[in-house]
């Protein structure tokens, strides 16, 4: 499976509704997702509820991100200067291919054929593991959930919990099969599973001379990178090897440590539902005699500059990848992450992927993969108005195809024409013409006085596959109003 992966979008990903069908038919997947998202949702709500100043924190988070994005070039230059002054080397990558080329080159220059990896969305976005493999370098994921995905030759389905679609029994089976030295009587007790992973990973940490990471934040004023995590495996990778290569999206820049303070409060509460994450690792360039002595920062654009140029779409670049929007999304809860065809699933994926990879097939369907319920906007720690961005991207999708006739466009035009004038609407409400072609069923219990319609023609078929509609009423309201309503 991993061979099919390309950057951001998985190659050949079908349009969302089609991919979703497979997930909808998988009861076990839906059960796993419901359990997991419900738990995280509850934890988040509890710890967020503790903060009377949560609204102000969100405002601050959004404001800092917006201000930074408004002068991103300036902050990046400062960051580059500080990292360089602290003994690091900064590389700029326009796209995935360039980033992969830089990283593979750096790894090969060390002569190593194995690297350990800290959980990172950016390296998944560019398909780094595959690029390394093509050059004969094996990348070992060290985040537990990421390891599970890698061992299963699977794809991540969640930003924070990539193996959220798997339950304990499935993981036990996987470890027993794939991890050398796993005990024959391995149970699905979480502690036992963690122990197997710990032993396996410990060997990797001690042997590794090169580590690859991303970063949650880059503080421009001192050139400091910050990684937040829960397991401590990231800390091992960030401190033990001799060479550290960090691939980070340019939008992860924040100007100062004061700004960092805001995000260190927003992120853990929003993502894992913790007041504070267990491990926060910060490093600035290299420190002689302590930690990696060779540090490279690869600054990744890969479509971000273009997103930045879009006044509404750019709000997606505020994202701190907390995954709160996934956990509350009713669509994600039912389809899981794979249906989004990209390393960024859920509501944030629906607005980010089409901007980073506008030409992919799945991108055209993603802005429509939402009921616009607004639950994501409500929880987003940096106040990204995701429904607003979705509507905007829908407009772009529709406008891009103006001039190409389609059934939907014809229907929308007809509706706009009919609704554009009350007399036309009134004529369309003529009951005889509405019911003439519809087979009426039994009287409805749901809508007393109406009959059930079980089959609609044309595009309505998608509706009536699972849902009845009531037969049209004997007269429209405006008719009634004219005949008797007004005089009453």
């Amino acid at each position: 499976m991993s061979g099919e992966r390309t950057d951001v979008v998985w190659l050949g990903s079908p349009a969302f509704p089609k991919a979703a069908e497979k997930a909808l038919a998988d009861d076990r997947l839906r059960g796993n997702l419901r359990n997991a998202t419900t738990t995280i949702r509850g934890k988040r709500a509890r710890v967020v509820g503790e903060r009377p100043d949560w609204a102000e924190l969100r405002d601050a988070g959004a404001a800092i991100k917006d201000a930074t994005l408004a002068d991103l070039a300036g902050h990046l230059e400062r960051l580059e200067a500080e990292v360089t002054a602290a003994g690091g080397t900064v590389h700029w990558a326009r796209d995935a291919a360039e980033a992969n080329r830089i990283v593979t080159g750096l790894v090969k220059a060390t002569g190593e054929t194995e690297v350990v990896k800290v959980k990172s969305m950016a390296t998944q976005e560019i398909g780094l593991n595959e690029a390394l493999a093509a050059e004969g370098v094996t990348a070992h994921e060290t985040d537990l959930a990421e390891l599970i995905v890698q061992l299963a030759d699977d794809r991540p389905s969640h930003i924070l919990v990539p193996a959220i679609h798997r339950n304990r029994a499935e993981i036990r089976e996987l470890f027993a099969r794939q991890v050398p030295g796993a005990p024959a009587d391995l149970t699905d007790d979480p502690a036992a599973l963690a122990e197997v992973a710990r032993r396996y990973l410990r060997e990797r940490f001690l042997a590794a001379r090169v580590a690859i990471s991303g970063a949650n934040f880059m503080v421009a004023e001192t050139g400091t990178l910050v990684v937040l995590e829960s397991e401590g495996n990231g800390r091992m990778c960030l401190t033990l090897p001799e060479t550290l290569i960090s691939v980070v999206g340019i939008e992860k820049t924040i100007p100062t440590w004061r700004d960092l303070e805001v995000f260190l409060q927003l992120l853990p509460r929003s993502s894992t539902g913790e007041r504070m994450n267990p491990y926060t690792t910060v490093w600035t360039g290299v420190t002689p005699g302590d930690g990696p002595q060779d540090f490279h920062l690869v600054l990744l654009d890969n479509g971000r500059t273009e997103a930045l140029a879009d006044e509404i779409g750019r709000s997606a670049l505020r994202c701190i990848r907390c995954s709160a929007c996934l956990n509350v999304c009713p669509v994600y809860e039912r389809t899981g992450g794979h249906a989004y065809g990209s390393v960024y699933p859920g509501p944030i994926g629906a607005i980010l992927t089409p901007q980073l990879r506008p030409d992919e097939e799945v991108s055209a369907s993603l802005p429509f993969a939402s009921s616009l319920c607004g639950a994501c906007y409500e929880v987003c720690p940096v106040k990204i108005d995701i429904p607003r961005a979705l509507i905007h991207l829908r407009e772009k999708a529709v406008d891009a195809k103006r001039g190409h006739p389609s059934a939907e466009r014809a229907a929308m035009k007809l509706a706009a024409w009919t609704l554009g004038n009350p007399r036309r609407l009134s004529a369309a409400q003529n009951v005889a013409s509405l019911t003439a072609r519809l087979p009426l069923g039994r009287p409805s219990r749901t809508w007393p006085g109406r009959r059930r319609i079980k089959r609609l023609p044309g595009p309505g078929r998608a509706w009536s596959r699972t849902r009845d509609v009531p037969s049209p009423p004997p007269q429209s309201f405006r008719r009634w109003w004219r005949e008797e309503g007004e005089e009453q």
Partner: protein, 235 residues
């Protein structure tokens, strides 16, 4: 008070009973209701589906039709939200009449909670996404329902989760929409309520459509119809 009714195109065409209920209710409370006949649609479907260009004339004609009224009532939370939150963005600078969703009008403007209704049935209330998150109706609807004589309000589990309607989402992503609807419908049935009420007929046509297909003994009703119901003229 003289109140203009913007009924919405869906209610006008498919659910005239909701419009009649609003008229009956407001008249009972001593107000004058007018229905400007030039009205059609707020443009929500077009905007939400990406057809902003087609939406614009609808926004303009709404503003022209309702200019000069002191209060406009809308028995649809999502259309009220569209008008209040998004019209100013679609056509900036357009003079906006004061628009109130029905429960906002009753509780905030008219200052009533007990509207003198009688409805001797078990009811569960689904707070639709736009009433909950866009308008922030809060407990206005349930306060109104609790004051109805004879009505027993049963709490809906997972109430705040979307029903899966979402306009054209219901057809473009019919599978996911139906799955969300089925989960919501199961929660509705779990309450044992005879009636499912909401402030949006569009969500109700989706949920009701599923309940009807499954033969569930549940009636779906717009909130207005319950609030309009009396002993002499029951809904």
């Amino acid at each position: 008070m003289r109140i203009a009714l913007f009924l919405t195109c869906v209610n006008d065409t498919m659910f005239p009973g909701t419009g009649k209920a609003v008229v009956k209710l407001l008249r009972r409370l001593g107000h004058t209701v007018v229905f400007p006949e030039e009205q059609t649609c707020c443009g929500q479907m077009h905007l939400n589906s990406g057809y902003r260009r087609e939406c614009e004339p609808l926004v303009r004609s709404f503003a022209a039709t309702f200019a000069g009224f002191d209060a406009v009532v809308v028995p649809s939370a999502s259309c009220a939200g569209m008008i209040r939150e998004l019209h100013p963005e679609v056509v900036p600078g357009l003079a906006a009449p004061p628009v109130h969703e029905l429960t906002e009008l009753l509780v905030d403007v008219l200052g009533v909670e007990d509207v003198g209704a009688y409805f001797p049935h078990t009811v569960t209330y689904h707070p639709t996404c736009h009433s909950l998150r866009m308008l922030g109706l809060g407990d206005r609807p349930t306060r109104l329902l609790r004051a109805v004589r004879g009505l027993e309000l049963l709490e809906l589990p997972g109430a705040e989760e979307c029903c899966g309607f979402g306009g054209t989402f219901a057809m473009k992503n019919a599978g996911v929409s139906a799955a969300m609807g089925a989960d919501k419908a199961a929660n509705v049935r779990r309450t044992g309520a005879a009636v499912l009420a909401a402030a949006d007929n569009s969500c109700l046509v989706h949920l009701g459509g599923g309940l009807s297909r499954d033969g569930a003994p549940v009636r779906v009703m717009h909130l207005a119809e319950i609030l309009a119901s009396t002993e002499e003229d029951p809904a």
